[in-house]
């Protein structure tokens, strides 16, 4: 530990509020568990850490007073989607991934795609101006089911319907692909 760093670190610690501290903790848990998801060689363990990752994101939603979003995050992602992922992993009996891994081409491609993702994320974060709309004050009923529902079915009605249509199309496509060989 560098002695020069200590005062600055203390000032920084004093400046953050309790909610921010909890947000940081949840964020660190989310990041670490996310890393385990990609790096662990056992895919079932990876999927279980994905649950931890999703739960910590739900905690962040709850800390930001978006209780409905937090509950949905747990109910849909942790409670249904990851269960399905683990179901498939267990059904196919996917064991430990062998050492060595993919070839140079795949690695280069992954690197490029990863860099593109980082670029997009950095751009998105830099273009975001926090608390500019209403000075960071929560409106009455913020994060409740009724407010989210009203926003979804009035302001964002068309995007919402388009997304649901796309999901139905994807599902129908998956069923068609799975059933293709059964009929002949």
């Amino acid at each position: 530990m560098d002695a020069l760093l200590t005062p600055a670190c203390c000032v920084a610690l004093a400046a953050i509020t309790a909610v921010e501290a909890k947000l940081y903790i949840a964020g660190i848990v989310a990041l670490v568990s996310g890393l385990v998801v990609v790096m662990h060689r056992n895919s079932v363990i990876g999927a279980l850490f994905l649950v931890l990752n999703l739960l910590s994101v739900a905690v962040m939603f709850a800390l930001l007073d978006a209780y409905f979003m937090a509950v949905l995050q747990v109910l849909i992602y942790a409670g249904a989607i990851v269960v399905l992922i683990i179901f498939v992993l267990m059904l196919l009996n996917v064991g430990r991934e062998p050492r060595g891994g993919p070839g140079l081409g795949v690695r280069l491609m992954a690197l490029l795609l990863g860099l593109a993702m980082v670029f997009a994320l950095v751009r998105a974060v830099r273009s975001f101006t926090p608390g500019s709309e209403d000075g960071g004050v929560l409106t009455e009923g913020y994060g409740t089911v009724s407010q989210l529902g009203e926003a979804l079915f009035n302001q964002y009605f068309y995007p919402f319907e388009v997304v649901s249509l796309a999901l139905v199309a994807a599902m129908a496509g998956a069923v068609l692909l799975a059933k293709r060989y059964l009929e002949d």
């Binding site: 079932v44 363990i45 279980l48 649950v51 739960l55 209780y67 409905f68 509950v71 949905l72 747990v74 109910l75 942790a78 409670g79 249904a80 269960v83 399905l84 683990i86 179901f87 267990m90 059904l91 994060g143 409740t144 089911v145």
Partner: protein, 343 residues
């Protein structure tokens, strides 16, 4: 400060009462199965065998705790805790009575967590509970346990849908997902089972499947899978799974009572004719709630010892081809009721 103490007292009370109810249920289950099968059941420990749960508890504590050398240890050790934790958390949003007024004038709502998306919170917590079963099944490194875990995950995913649909219909009628608001809406009109008997039936059957109770206890079907996902568990670790299952039954019965059978509400003509008000009314509500939940707990026992087990494909067929369409019809019916202004 008073608020914190009240909240802690409620949490402690529920955390004590639920395991107590579980131990009573094990006695009811064994004596009830005795009655149904025309035999006595455990009757040696204490009068009518009521001390049998105590004997069982002591036995669980002193059994050898075997951890097979082939298990994936961290997951194996965490699984019972996950199952138990999810079971306890789910009960937090169930209101078990009205408002209690303390001598200091402080009003205490008889529910641990009263918030906007309460019913969904219960669904979320119970859907996390499936990880206890999956982790146990996978980490045991045993084909029976693994098959049990697989069955459980597909079963829970399937029945969560119909479970959710039955809940949504209630939300449509009550206009809220807050359990207390749903109970009060029913107290102001009729119990929702009168408007939507199909929804109540869907919720009841899905409740049986979600709690892995017979006739849907395929994850632990002993004739095919030894004991399913908890084959490798012994001693208190097994007891934790056992308790989690019974607490899930209590929660599921309490949810059905809250959503479709008026919850803790005492009919207005009863409370006025008996002159119940204030804390006496709250006390009566608590008793009414416990009685309603007890009825469904008995129903769980009754069904378990009466019906044979389904085959696994039959179980999935019932879920996807019967309960989900019925659930959707029920949601549409609820919307029609609201549109016609009958509720």
């Amino acid at each position: 400060m008073g608020v914190v103490i009240a909240a802690l007292t409620k949490v402690l009370l529920v955390a004590l009462v639920l395991p107590l109810a579980v131990s009573i249920m094990t006695w009811v289950e064994r004596r009830g199965s005795g009655i149904i099968q025309m035999r006595l059941g455990p009757n040696r420990v204490g009068p009518f065998g009521v001390l049998q749960p105590v004997a069982d508890g002591i036995q669980f504590f002193f059994k050898e705790d075997i951890v097979s050398p082939f298990v994936h240890k961290p997951t194996y050790l965490m699984a019972p805790a996950v199952a138990m934790m999810a079971a306890f958390i789910a009960f937090a949003v169930i209101p078990f009575g009205g408002t209690l007024t303390l001598t200091s004038g402080q009003q205490v709502k008889l529910v641990i967590a009263d918030f906007d998306a309460g019913v969904l919170f219960l669904l979320a917590a119970s859907s996390v509970g499936v990880y206890g079963v999956i982790m146990a099944g996978w980490s045991s490194n045993n084909k029976y346990a693994q098959l049990g875990g697989l069955r459980s995950s597909s079963q829970m995913i399937s029945y969560e849908l119909s479970f959710g649909l039955a809940v949504i219909a209630v939300a449509v009628l009550a206009g809220s997902l807050r359990p207390i608001a749903i109970v009060e809406a029913q107290a102001a009109s009729w119990w929702y089972v009168v408007y939507m008997p199909v929804g109540a039936l869907v919720l009841l059957i899905s409740g049986f499947a979600e709690t892995n109770r017979l006739p849907f206890d395929l994850p632990e079907a002993e004739s095919e899978l030894v004991a399913g996902y908890h084959t490798e568990y012994s001693s208190m670790k097994f007891a934790l799974f056992f308790m989690a299952e019974y607490i899930n039954m209590i929660t599921s019965a309490a949810l059905l009572v809250t959503l479709y059978l008026g919850g803790y509400s005492v009919p207005a003509f009863v409370s006025s004719s008996l002159g119940l008000e204030g804390n006496w009314l709250t006390f009566a509500q608590l008793i009414v709630f416990v009685l309603k939940v007890s009825f469904f707990m008995w129903l769980f026992v009754w069904v378990r010892w009466t019906l044979p087990r389904f085959r696994f494909d039959q179980l999935l067929q019932i879920g996807w081809k019967a309960l989900i369409p019925l659930g959707f019809l029920n949601v549409i019916w609820a919307a029609v009721l609201v549109w016609l202004g009958w509720v």
